[in-house]
Symmetry: C2
Subunit: 350 residues, 2 copies
């Protein structure tokens, strides 16, 4: 896509941001912003959160996420309370992906002058309650008017034992790949809402709930980090095809995914017809599940895995294993064929 700039009276055609996509822009920022040499900066751009040393073994986690009406959410599908909870949950999920504990949040809010006060209150109640679920608090923020849309930008802080944090870069060849919960449910829920508005059948409720009210996997993330057997972790925001690719790129490895073990696939059959997308497409590429995707060392004892599931109360599925970078990033299908996975996911930039 091209843009037009007026320069000394002449129109010049130049490249627009959309010509290089979200990850292209992030790489560009990384190159523009020189690497910091600050001794306390343990992780800058390139993981779920930045990591800053607090003291000997304590680290501060910090991340932010901007959500724009009609890009990330539609007010006709959600109550302001649900939206508040969801906006916070999406940020909490990044803290979960580091194995951290959330502490404080700042909220920047942009809204039109006509935004109803009662909805403003409900939005903040939703954000407050979602934080309170994990003993966190809103400690600051900023308000602005916008011409027409609602904008929520949350800065989330958390803390973690700096020796136990799971970065994207820690996966090793032979490590086992796991995910929590169900995949593709949020994408399915979005299709249900788009097709039926609020008049959807009760049987689809689980998908719609997965989309509107994702549950940040805070305790699960902490248990994986504490176990000492985790090696890399990320939350699933863009779909596992894209998010597992981030782990592979950061760790310079490849990945093999077992199609037969992908969770939730059989439940998505009815959605295939409605959405025109195969269950596999939903599972791999639809994103916004906010489940955890993580790798565990090859020698992780079964007891450790059982304890993680029991203590967190969250189902986990072993869906693949880490292979060499040379082997690639592929799906092992029902005929035991290797099908390359394209690392494309839900991209708000398209």
């Amino acid at each position: 896509m091209e843009s037009v700039i007026n320069f000394q009276g002449a129109k010049i055609f130049v490249k627009s941001v959309s010509s290089i996509g979200e990850f292209g822009l992030i790489d560009r920022i990384k190159n523009l912003v020189q690497e910091s040499k600050h001794p306390d900066l343990l992780q800058g751009i390139g993981d779920d959160t930045a990591v800053i040393r607090f003291s000997e073994n304590r680290a501060l986690l910090v991340t932010c996420d901007i959500q724009v009406e009609n890009q990330h959410f539609r007010l006709k599908y959600t109550t302001p309370y649900q939206l508040g909870r969801r906006a916070m949950a999406v940020n909490l999920s990044d803290i979960a992906a580091m194995g951290g504990k959330p502490t404080f949040a700042l909220v920047s809010l942009g809204f039109p002058k006509s935004f109803p006060l009662v909805q403003f209150d409900e939005l903040f109640k939703g954000m407050r309650d979602q934080m309170a679920d994990f003993s966190g608090t809103i400690i600051g923020g900023n308000l602005s008017h916008t011409q027409d849309v609602l904008i929520i930008d949350i800065t989330m802080m958390g803390e973690a034992d700096s020796r136990k944090i799971l970065f994207r870069s820690g996966a090793q060849i032979g490590d086992r790949i796991f995910c929590s919960g169900n995949l593709g449910f949020s994408g399915a829920g979005f299709h249900i809402l788009s097709k039926f508005d609020e008049d959807f059948s009760a049987k689809f409720d689980k998908f719609v709930q997965a989309h509107l009210q994702p549950i940040p996997r805070i305790f699960l993330g902490q248990l994986i980090a504490k176990s000492g057997y985790g090696s890399a972790m990320i939350d699933i925001s863009d779909g596992i095809a894209s998010d597992l690719n981030h782990i592979c790129t950061s760790s310079t490895v490849g990945a093999e995914i077992y199609e037969a073990r992908l969770p939730g696939s059989n439940q998505l059959a009815e959605i295939e017809k409605l959405s025109g997308k195969s269950w596999l497409e939903l599972v791999l590429h639809s994103g916004e599940d906010y489940e955890l995707l993580f790798t565990m060392k090859a020698d992780t004892p079964d007891d450790i895995l059982k304890t993680i599931v029991q203590e967190s109360g969250v189902q986990i599925s072993e869906i693949g294993k880490i292979v060499s970078m040379k082997s690639g990033f592929y799906l092992l299908n029902q005929y035991n064929e290797r099908v390359p996975i394209k690392p494309t996911g839900w991209d708000h930039f398209k």
Copy 2:
């Protein structure tokens, strides 16, 4: 202002956010968000930054500021590079107001698909360079598309000696009130740009520069905090009438301002005619100067003040003194009359 909500098919008229203004909304958030009992939270909502204990005497400062195109800036008046510097400077100014040292920033950016890549680069270069002026770095962020406008939300972090931080609440009766630099220049610059676009006379350049490129008073803030004689501090974002009122409210005191000592007033004479606003109105209410407004103990030795000016290289003016809350908040004019000051400032919500 009223808004309309559709409720079960009926239209209901309700209060909109604009009916209670920015500070009304902030009070509302304070009440909705319960006070945190986290032992490390030294200051939540209600000062220039939140303050979190790092270790014994070290504190983390954190704040955010959302800037929306056509609400806070116009791309026709500024280059993307200048805009990047300014967006960062506004946040750095909040760190200065606590007497802190900036460390890291996160940038959330929303932009239309057609936004030129070269302007994206320039914006980040401006932000990067402004941070680098104080040895700070951008360590993370988030990107989103918007329908049409540019949105910049910056989260700024800094650190300070927790024993030396100057809160809004520390002013005592008898304390002397100071401000740095010139007041009303940024407001004057905005009027010049609105009136002449880019074709303004060179004599107005200092006003336009004050508006487009405010200088965060980081070193000055640190010197005031370190001196041991400072009692309260805030940065001037909404105009001293509004910002000094924040100090008065937080400290439960009043303030007397000497009209004759307000800096820059004589230079604003020509702007009075152009803008239709008196110099006094510009100085008290126009805001966006990003100078520091601070109180010093009554017994502050002159040597201390001289050292602060010499080491920072920034001019300071003694503009008033803290009085009892009962005495009020007023200007002492040229006839030695007390003229009450209305605590209204530049309000993007109007």
